[in-house]
């Protein structure tokens, strides 16, 4: 059954005020288009979970969508501080819950596996455990050292961007795969955005590359260039210039408001946004091809 619908409809239908949202992607494939659509639709009181909140949550917090963030590294990758989330935390305007990367990702893995919690080895750094009551330690029932446990994270909705998917939501992705699969399996609903919608036969030609199966997907949206200023491996480069520019924009509430007015509220969808980004940037972010060797699955 086709799940292909416009992104606007998917956000309206599957993201509700007060939801826990996980917009997946470790630096790569960050679903900015969906984040911007959530801002345009004025969603409120969201809990925004991501290992690395990145610019997408900085923008959503600036737009007033969030009441809380759950994270493990709050920075502007390669640049410095994530100013808006950081400022909101320092002023006491935003709730937060914090883990290490492994803690965060173990929460998702537990959620994805249908388990109540999962253990990790001790790290000797006990301050996070002291300030976050959800991080606990329990005896190893087999007699080893105590282990640290974190509870499953089961977001209301995950947003995952992929290079290609069929209309049923069977999705191929490659490059840095971060926590995409875990987020999809852990969440109650999954909105998939894709650079390309392909025939099911393309997916079936390389089944090992299917990280996310259609059976866990709620909606499939065709949104090329959905990740800018993040990137899609093999499709377009990361816009490091914009990550640097955001450092300046996010320093000033006026510039931030101007940015949101111009680039989020002022465009109707991703196509309009990408047109506005302009041909010079399109050219700058273009990548040369580098193909993998074919493999033989065999005909049986």
């Amino acid at each position: 059954m086709s799940k292909l619908i416009p992104l606007k409809k998917a956000i309206a239908e599957f993201v509700n005020d007060g939801d826990i949202v996980y917009a997946a992607g470790f630096t790569h494939l960050i679903p900015f288009a969906a984040g911007h659509e959530i801002i345009r639709q004025g969603k409120k009181n969201l809990t925004l979970a991501r290992a690395t909140p990145d610019l997408i949550y900085d923008q959503m917090v600036a737009a007033g969508c969030a009441k809380k963030v759950i994270f493990s590294y709050m920075g502007n990758p390669g640049v410095g501080s994530l100013r808006i989330v950081r400022g909101a935390i320092e002023r006491g305007e935003l709730e937060w819950e914090e883990y290490s990367h492994f803690g965060m990702i173990t929460r998702l893995q537990a959620g994805a596996s249908g388990l109540p919690f999962l253990p990790m080895n001790q790290t000797g750094a006990e301050d996070l455990e002291r300030v976050n009551p959800l991080i606990k330690r329990i005896p190893d029932p087999y007699g080893g050292k105590d282990v640290i446990v974190v509870p499953a994270l089961n977001p209301d909705v995950a947003i995952v961007h992929v290079q290609r998917a069929d209309k049923n939501g069977n999705a191929h992705l490659w490059g840095i795969i971060g926590e995409q699969k875990e987020a999809a399996f852990a969440s109650k609903k999954v909105i998939l955005t894709a650079e390309e919608i392909v025939d099911e036969a393309v997916i079936r030609s390389d089944p090992n590359r299917t990280m996310i199966p259609g059976i866990v997907v709620s909606a499939v949206c065709h949104v090329p260039f959905a990740c800018h200023p993040s990137y899609a491996q093999g499709y377009y480069d990361r816009d490091n210039e914009f990550y640097l520019a955001w450092d300046k924009i996010s320093e000033s509430p006026e510039l931030t408001k101007q940015y949101l007015d111009e680039w989020v509220y002022g465009v109707k969808d991703r196509d309009a946004y990408w047109k506005k980004v302009g041909e010079k940037a399109h050219k700058r972010l273009k990548v040369k091809a580098k193909y993998s060797e074919k493999i033989n699955y065999g005909k049986y």
Partner: protein, 258 residues
């Protein structure tokens, strides 16, 4: 021959690269650690395997990576795995030799604060947080850090322990059963600090022309000096040439003071 000119960043990167051994599997961050690893790979450690916390194994970046998830790390790498796999199968399982750390503060026992200055619940300065560093510090066989030698970066005790060095010293680390060897070298622009048998960071080497007094003035605890205080080998023309011509031709990370 005229004396070689180099920045404090170059001095630290070159000395950090010399700590790496051929065949090491290194958990590396972008910026200066990335340069140190690539320099080692092009000089004395051609079989170095670089792992990035984004899940890339055996990266051989063609251009200077500008973020931890730069696509240049992926193309041509040996393997790309999920975040859960990198932390569980690689780091927790014990497949990583060296971890390069970062952080705002490092204390007398090599513990790092990358989380907060001031009260956690009402932070004066909110820092980025652990990322992967809590686990790297615990489970990599050897940990290193590069940081300019400044008093504010070297308090006697960190306000928040994001990642563990030797904790409170003595047997504290061993008692927790952490598999890794802990913070084994702090490379600064003055010299190198290494742990003594109690886990306390002491001055073990000075860069040419630097003094133990300079190191003490810029350290927040009473800094002991090793009985066999070394002077680091001078920076070579070859090392500088590789950094300037091959690795960071526009000086994005080499010019930085920190």
């Amino acid at each position: 021959m005229p004396e070689l000119k180099y920045s404090s960043a170059e001095l630290m990167i070159i000395n950090a690269s010399r700590l790496l051994r051929d065949g090491d599997v290194v958990f590396v961050g972008v910026g200066q650690p990335n340069l140190a690893c690539n320099l080692a790979k092009r000089t004395h450690a051609p079989n170095l395997v670089m792992i990035y916390e984004a899940g890339v194994i055996g990266a051989e970046p063609e251009r200077l990576p500008l973020s931890i998830g730069d696509p240049t790390l992926v193309s041509g790498s040996l393997s790309v795995v999920s975040m859960y796999d990198i932390f569980a199968n690689y780091l927790q399982r014990g497949n990583v030799d060296v971890g390069f750390m970062g952080g705002a503060q490092i204390d007398k026992y090599g513990n790092i604060n990358a989380t907060t200055i001031g009260d956690y619940a009402q932070p004066k300065v909110r820092l980025p947080g652990s990322g992967g560093s809590q686990e790297i510090a615990a489970w990599a066989n050897r940990c290193y850090i590069m940081t300019p030698h400044q008093k504010r970066r070297f308090p006697e005790k960190v306000e928040f322990m994001t990642s563990a060095g030797f904790i409170s010293g003595g047997k504290a680390r061993a008692e927790r059963g952490l598999r890794g060897g802990g913070m084994l070298a702090v490379v600064t622009d003055i010299g190198i600090m290494e742990p003594d048998e109690t886990g306390e960071m002491i001055l073990t080497a000075l860069h040419p022309g630097k003094t133990a007094e300079e190191a003490q003035v810029n350290t927040g605890w009473s800094l002991k000096t090793a009985s066999a205080l070394r002077v680091t080998e001078p920076v070579t023309r070859k090392e500088l040439r590789i950094l300037h011509e091959e690795l960071d031709p526009t000086g994005i990370y080499l010019k930085a003071a920190g």
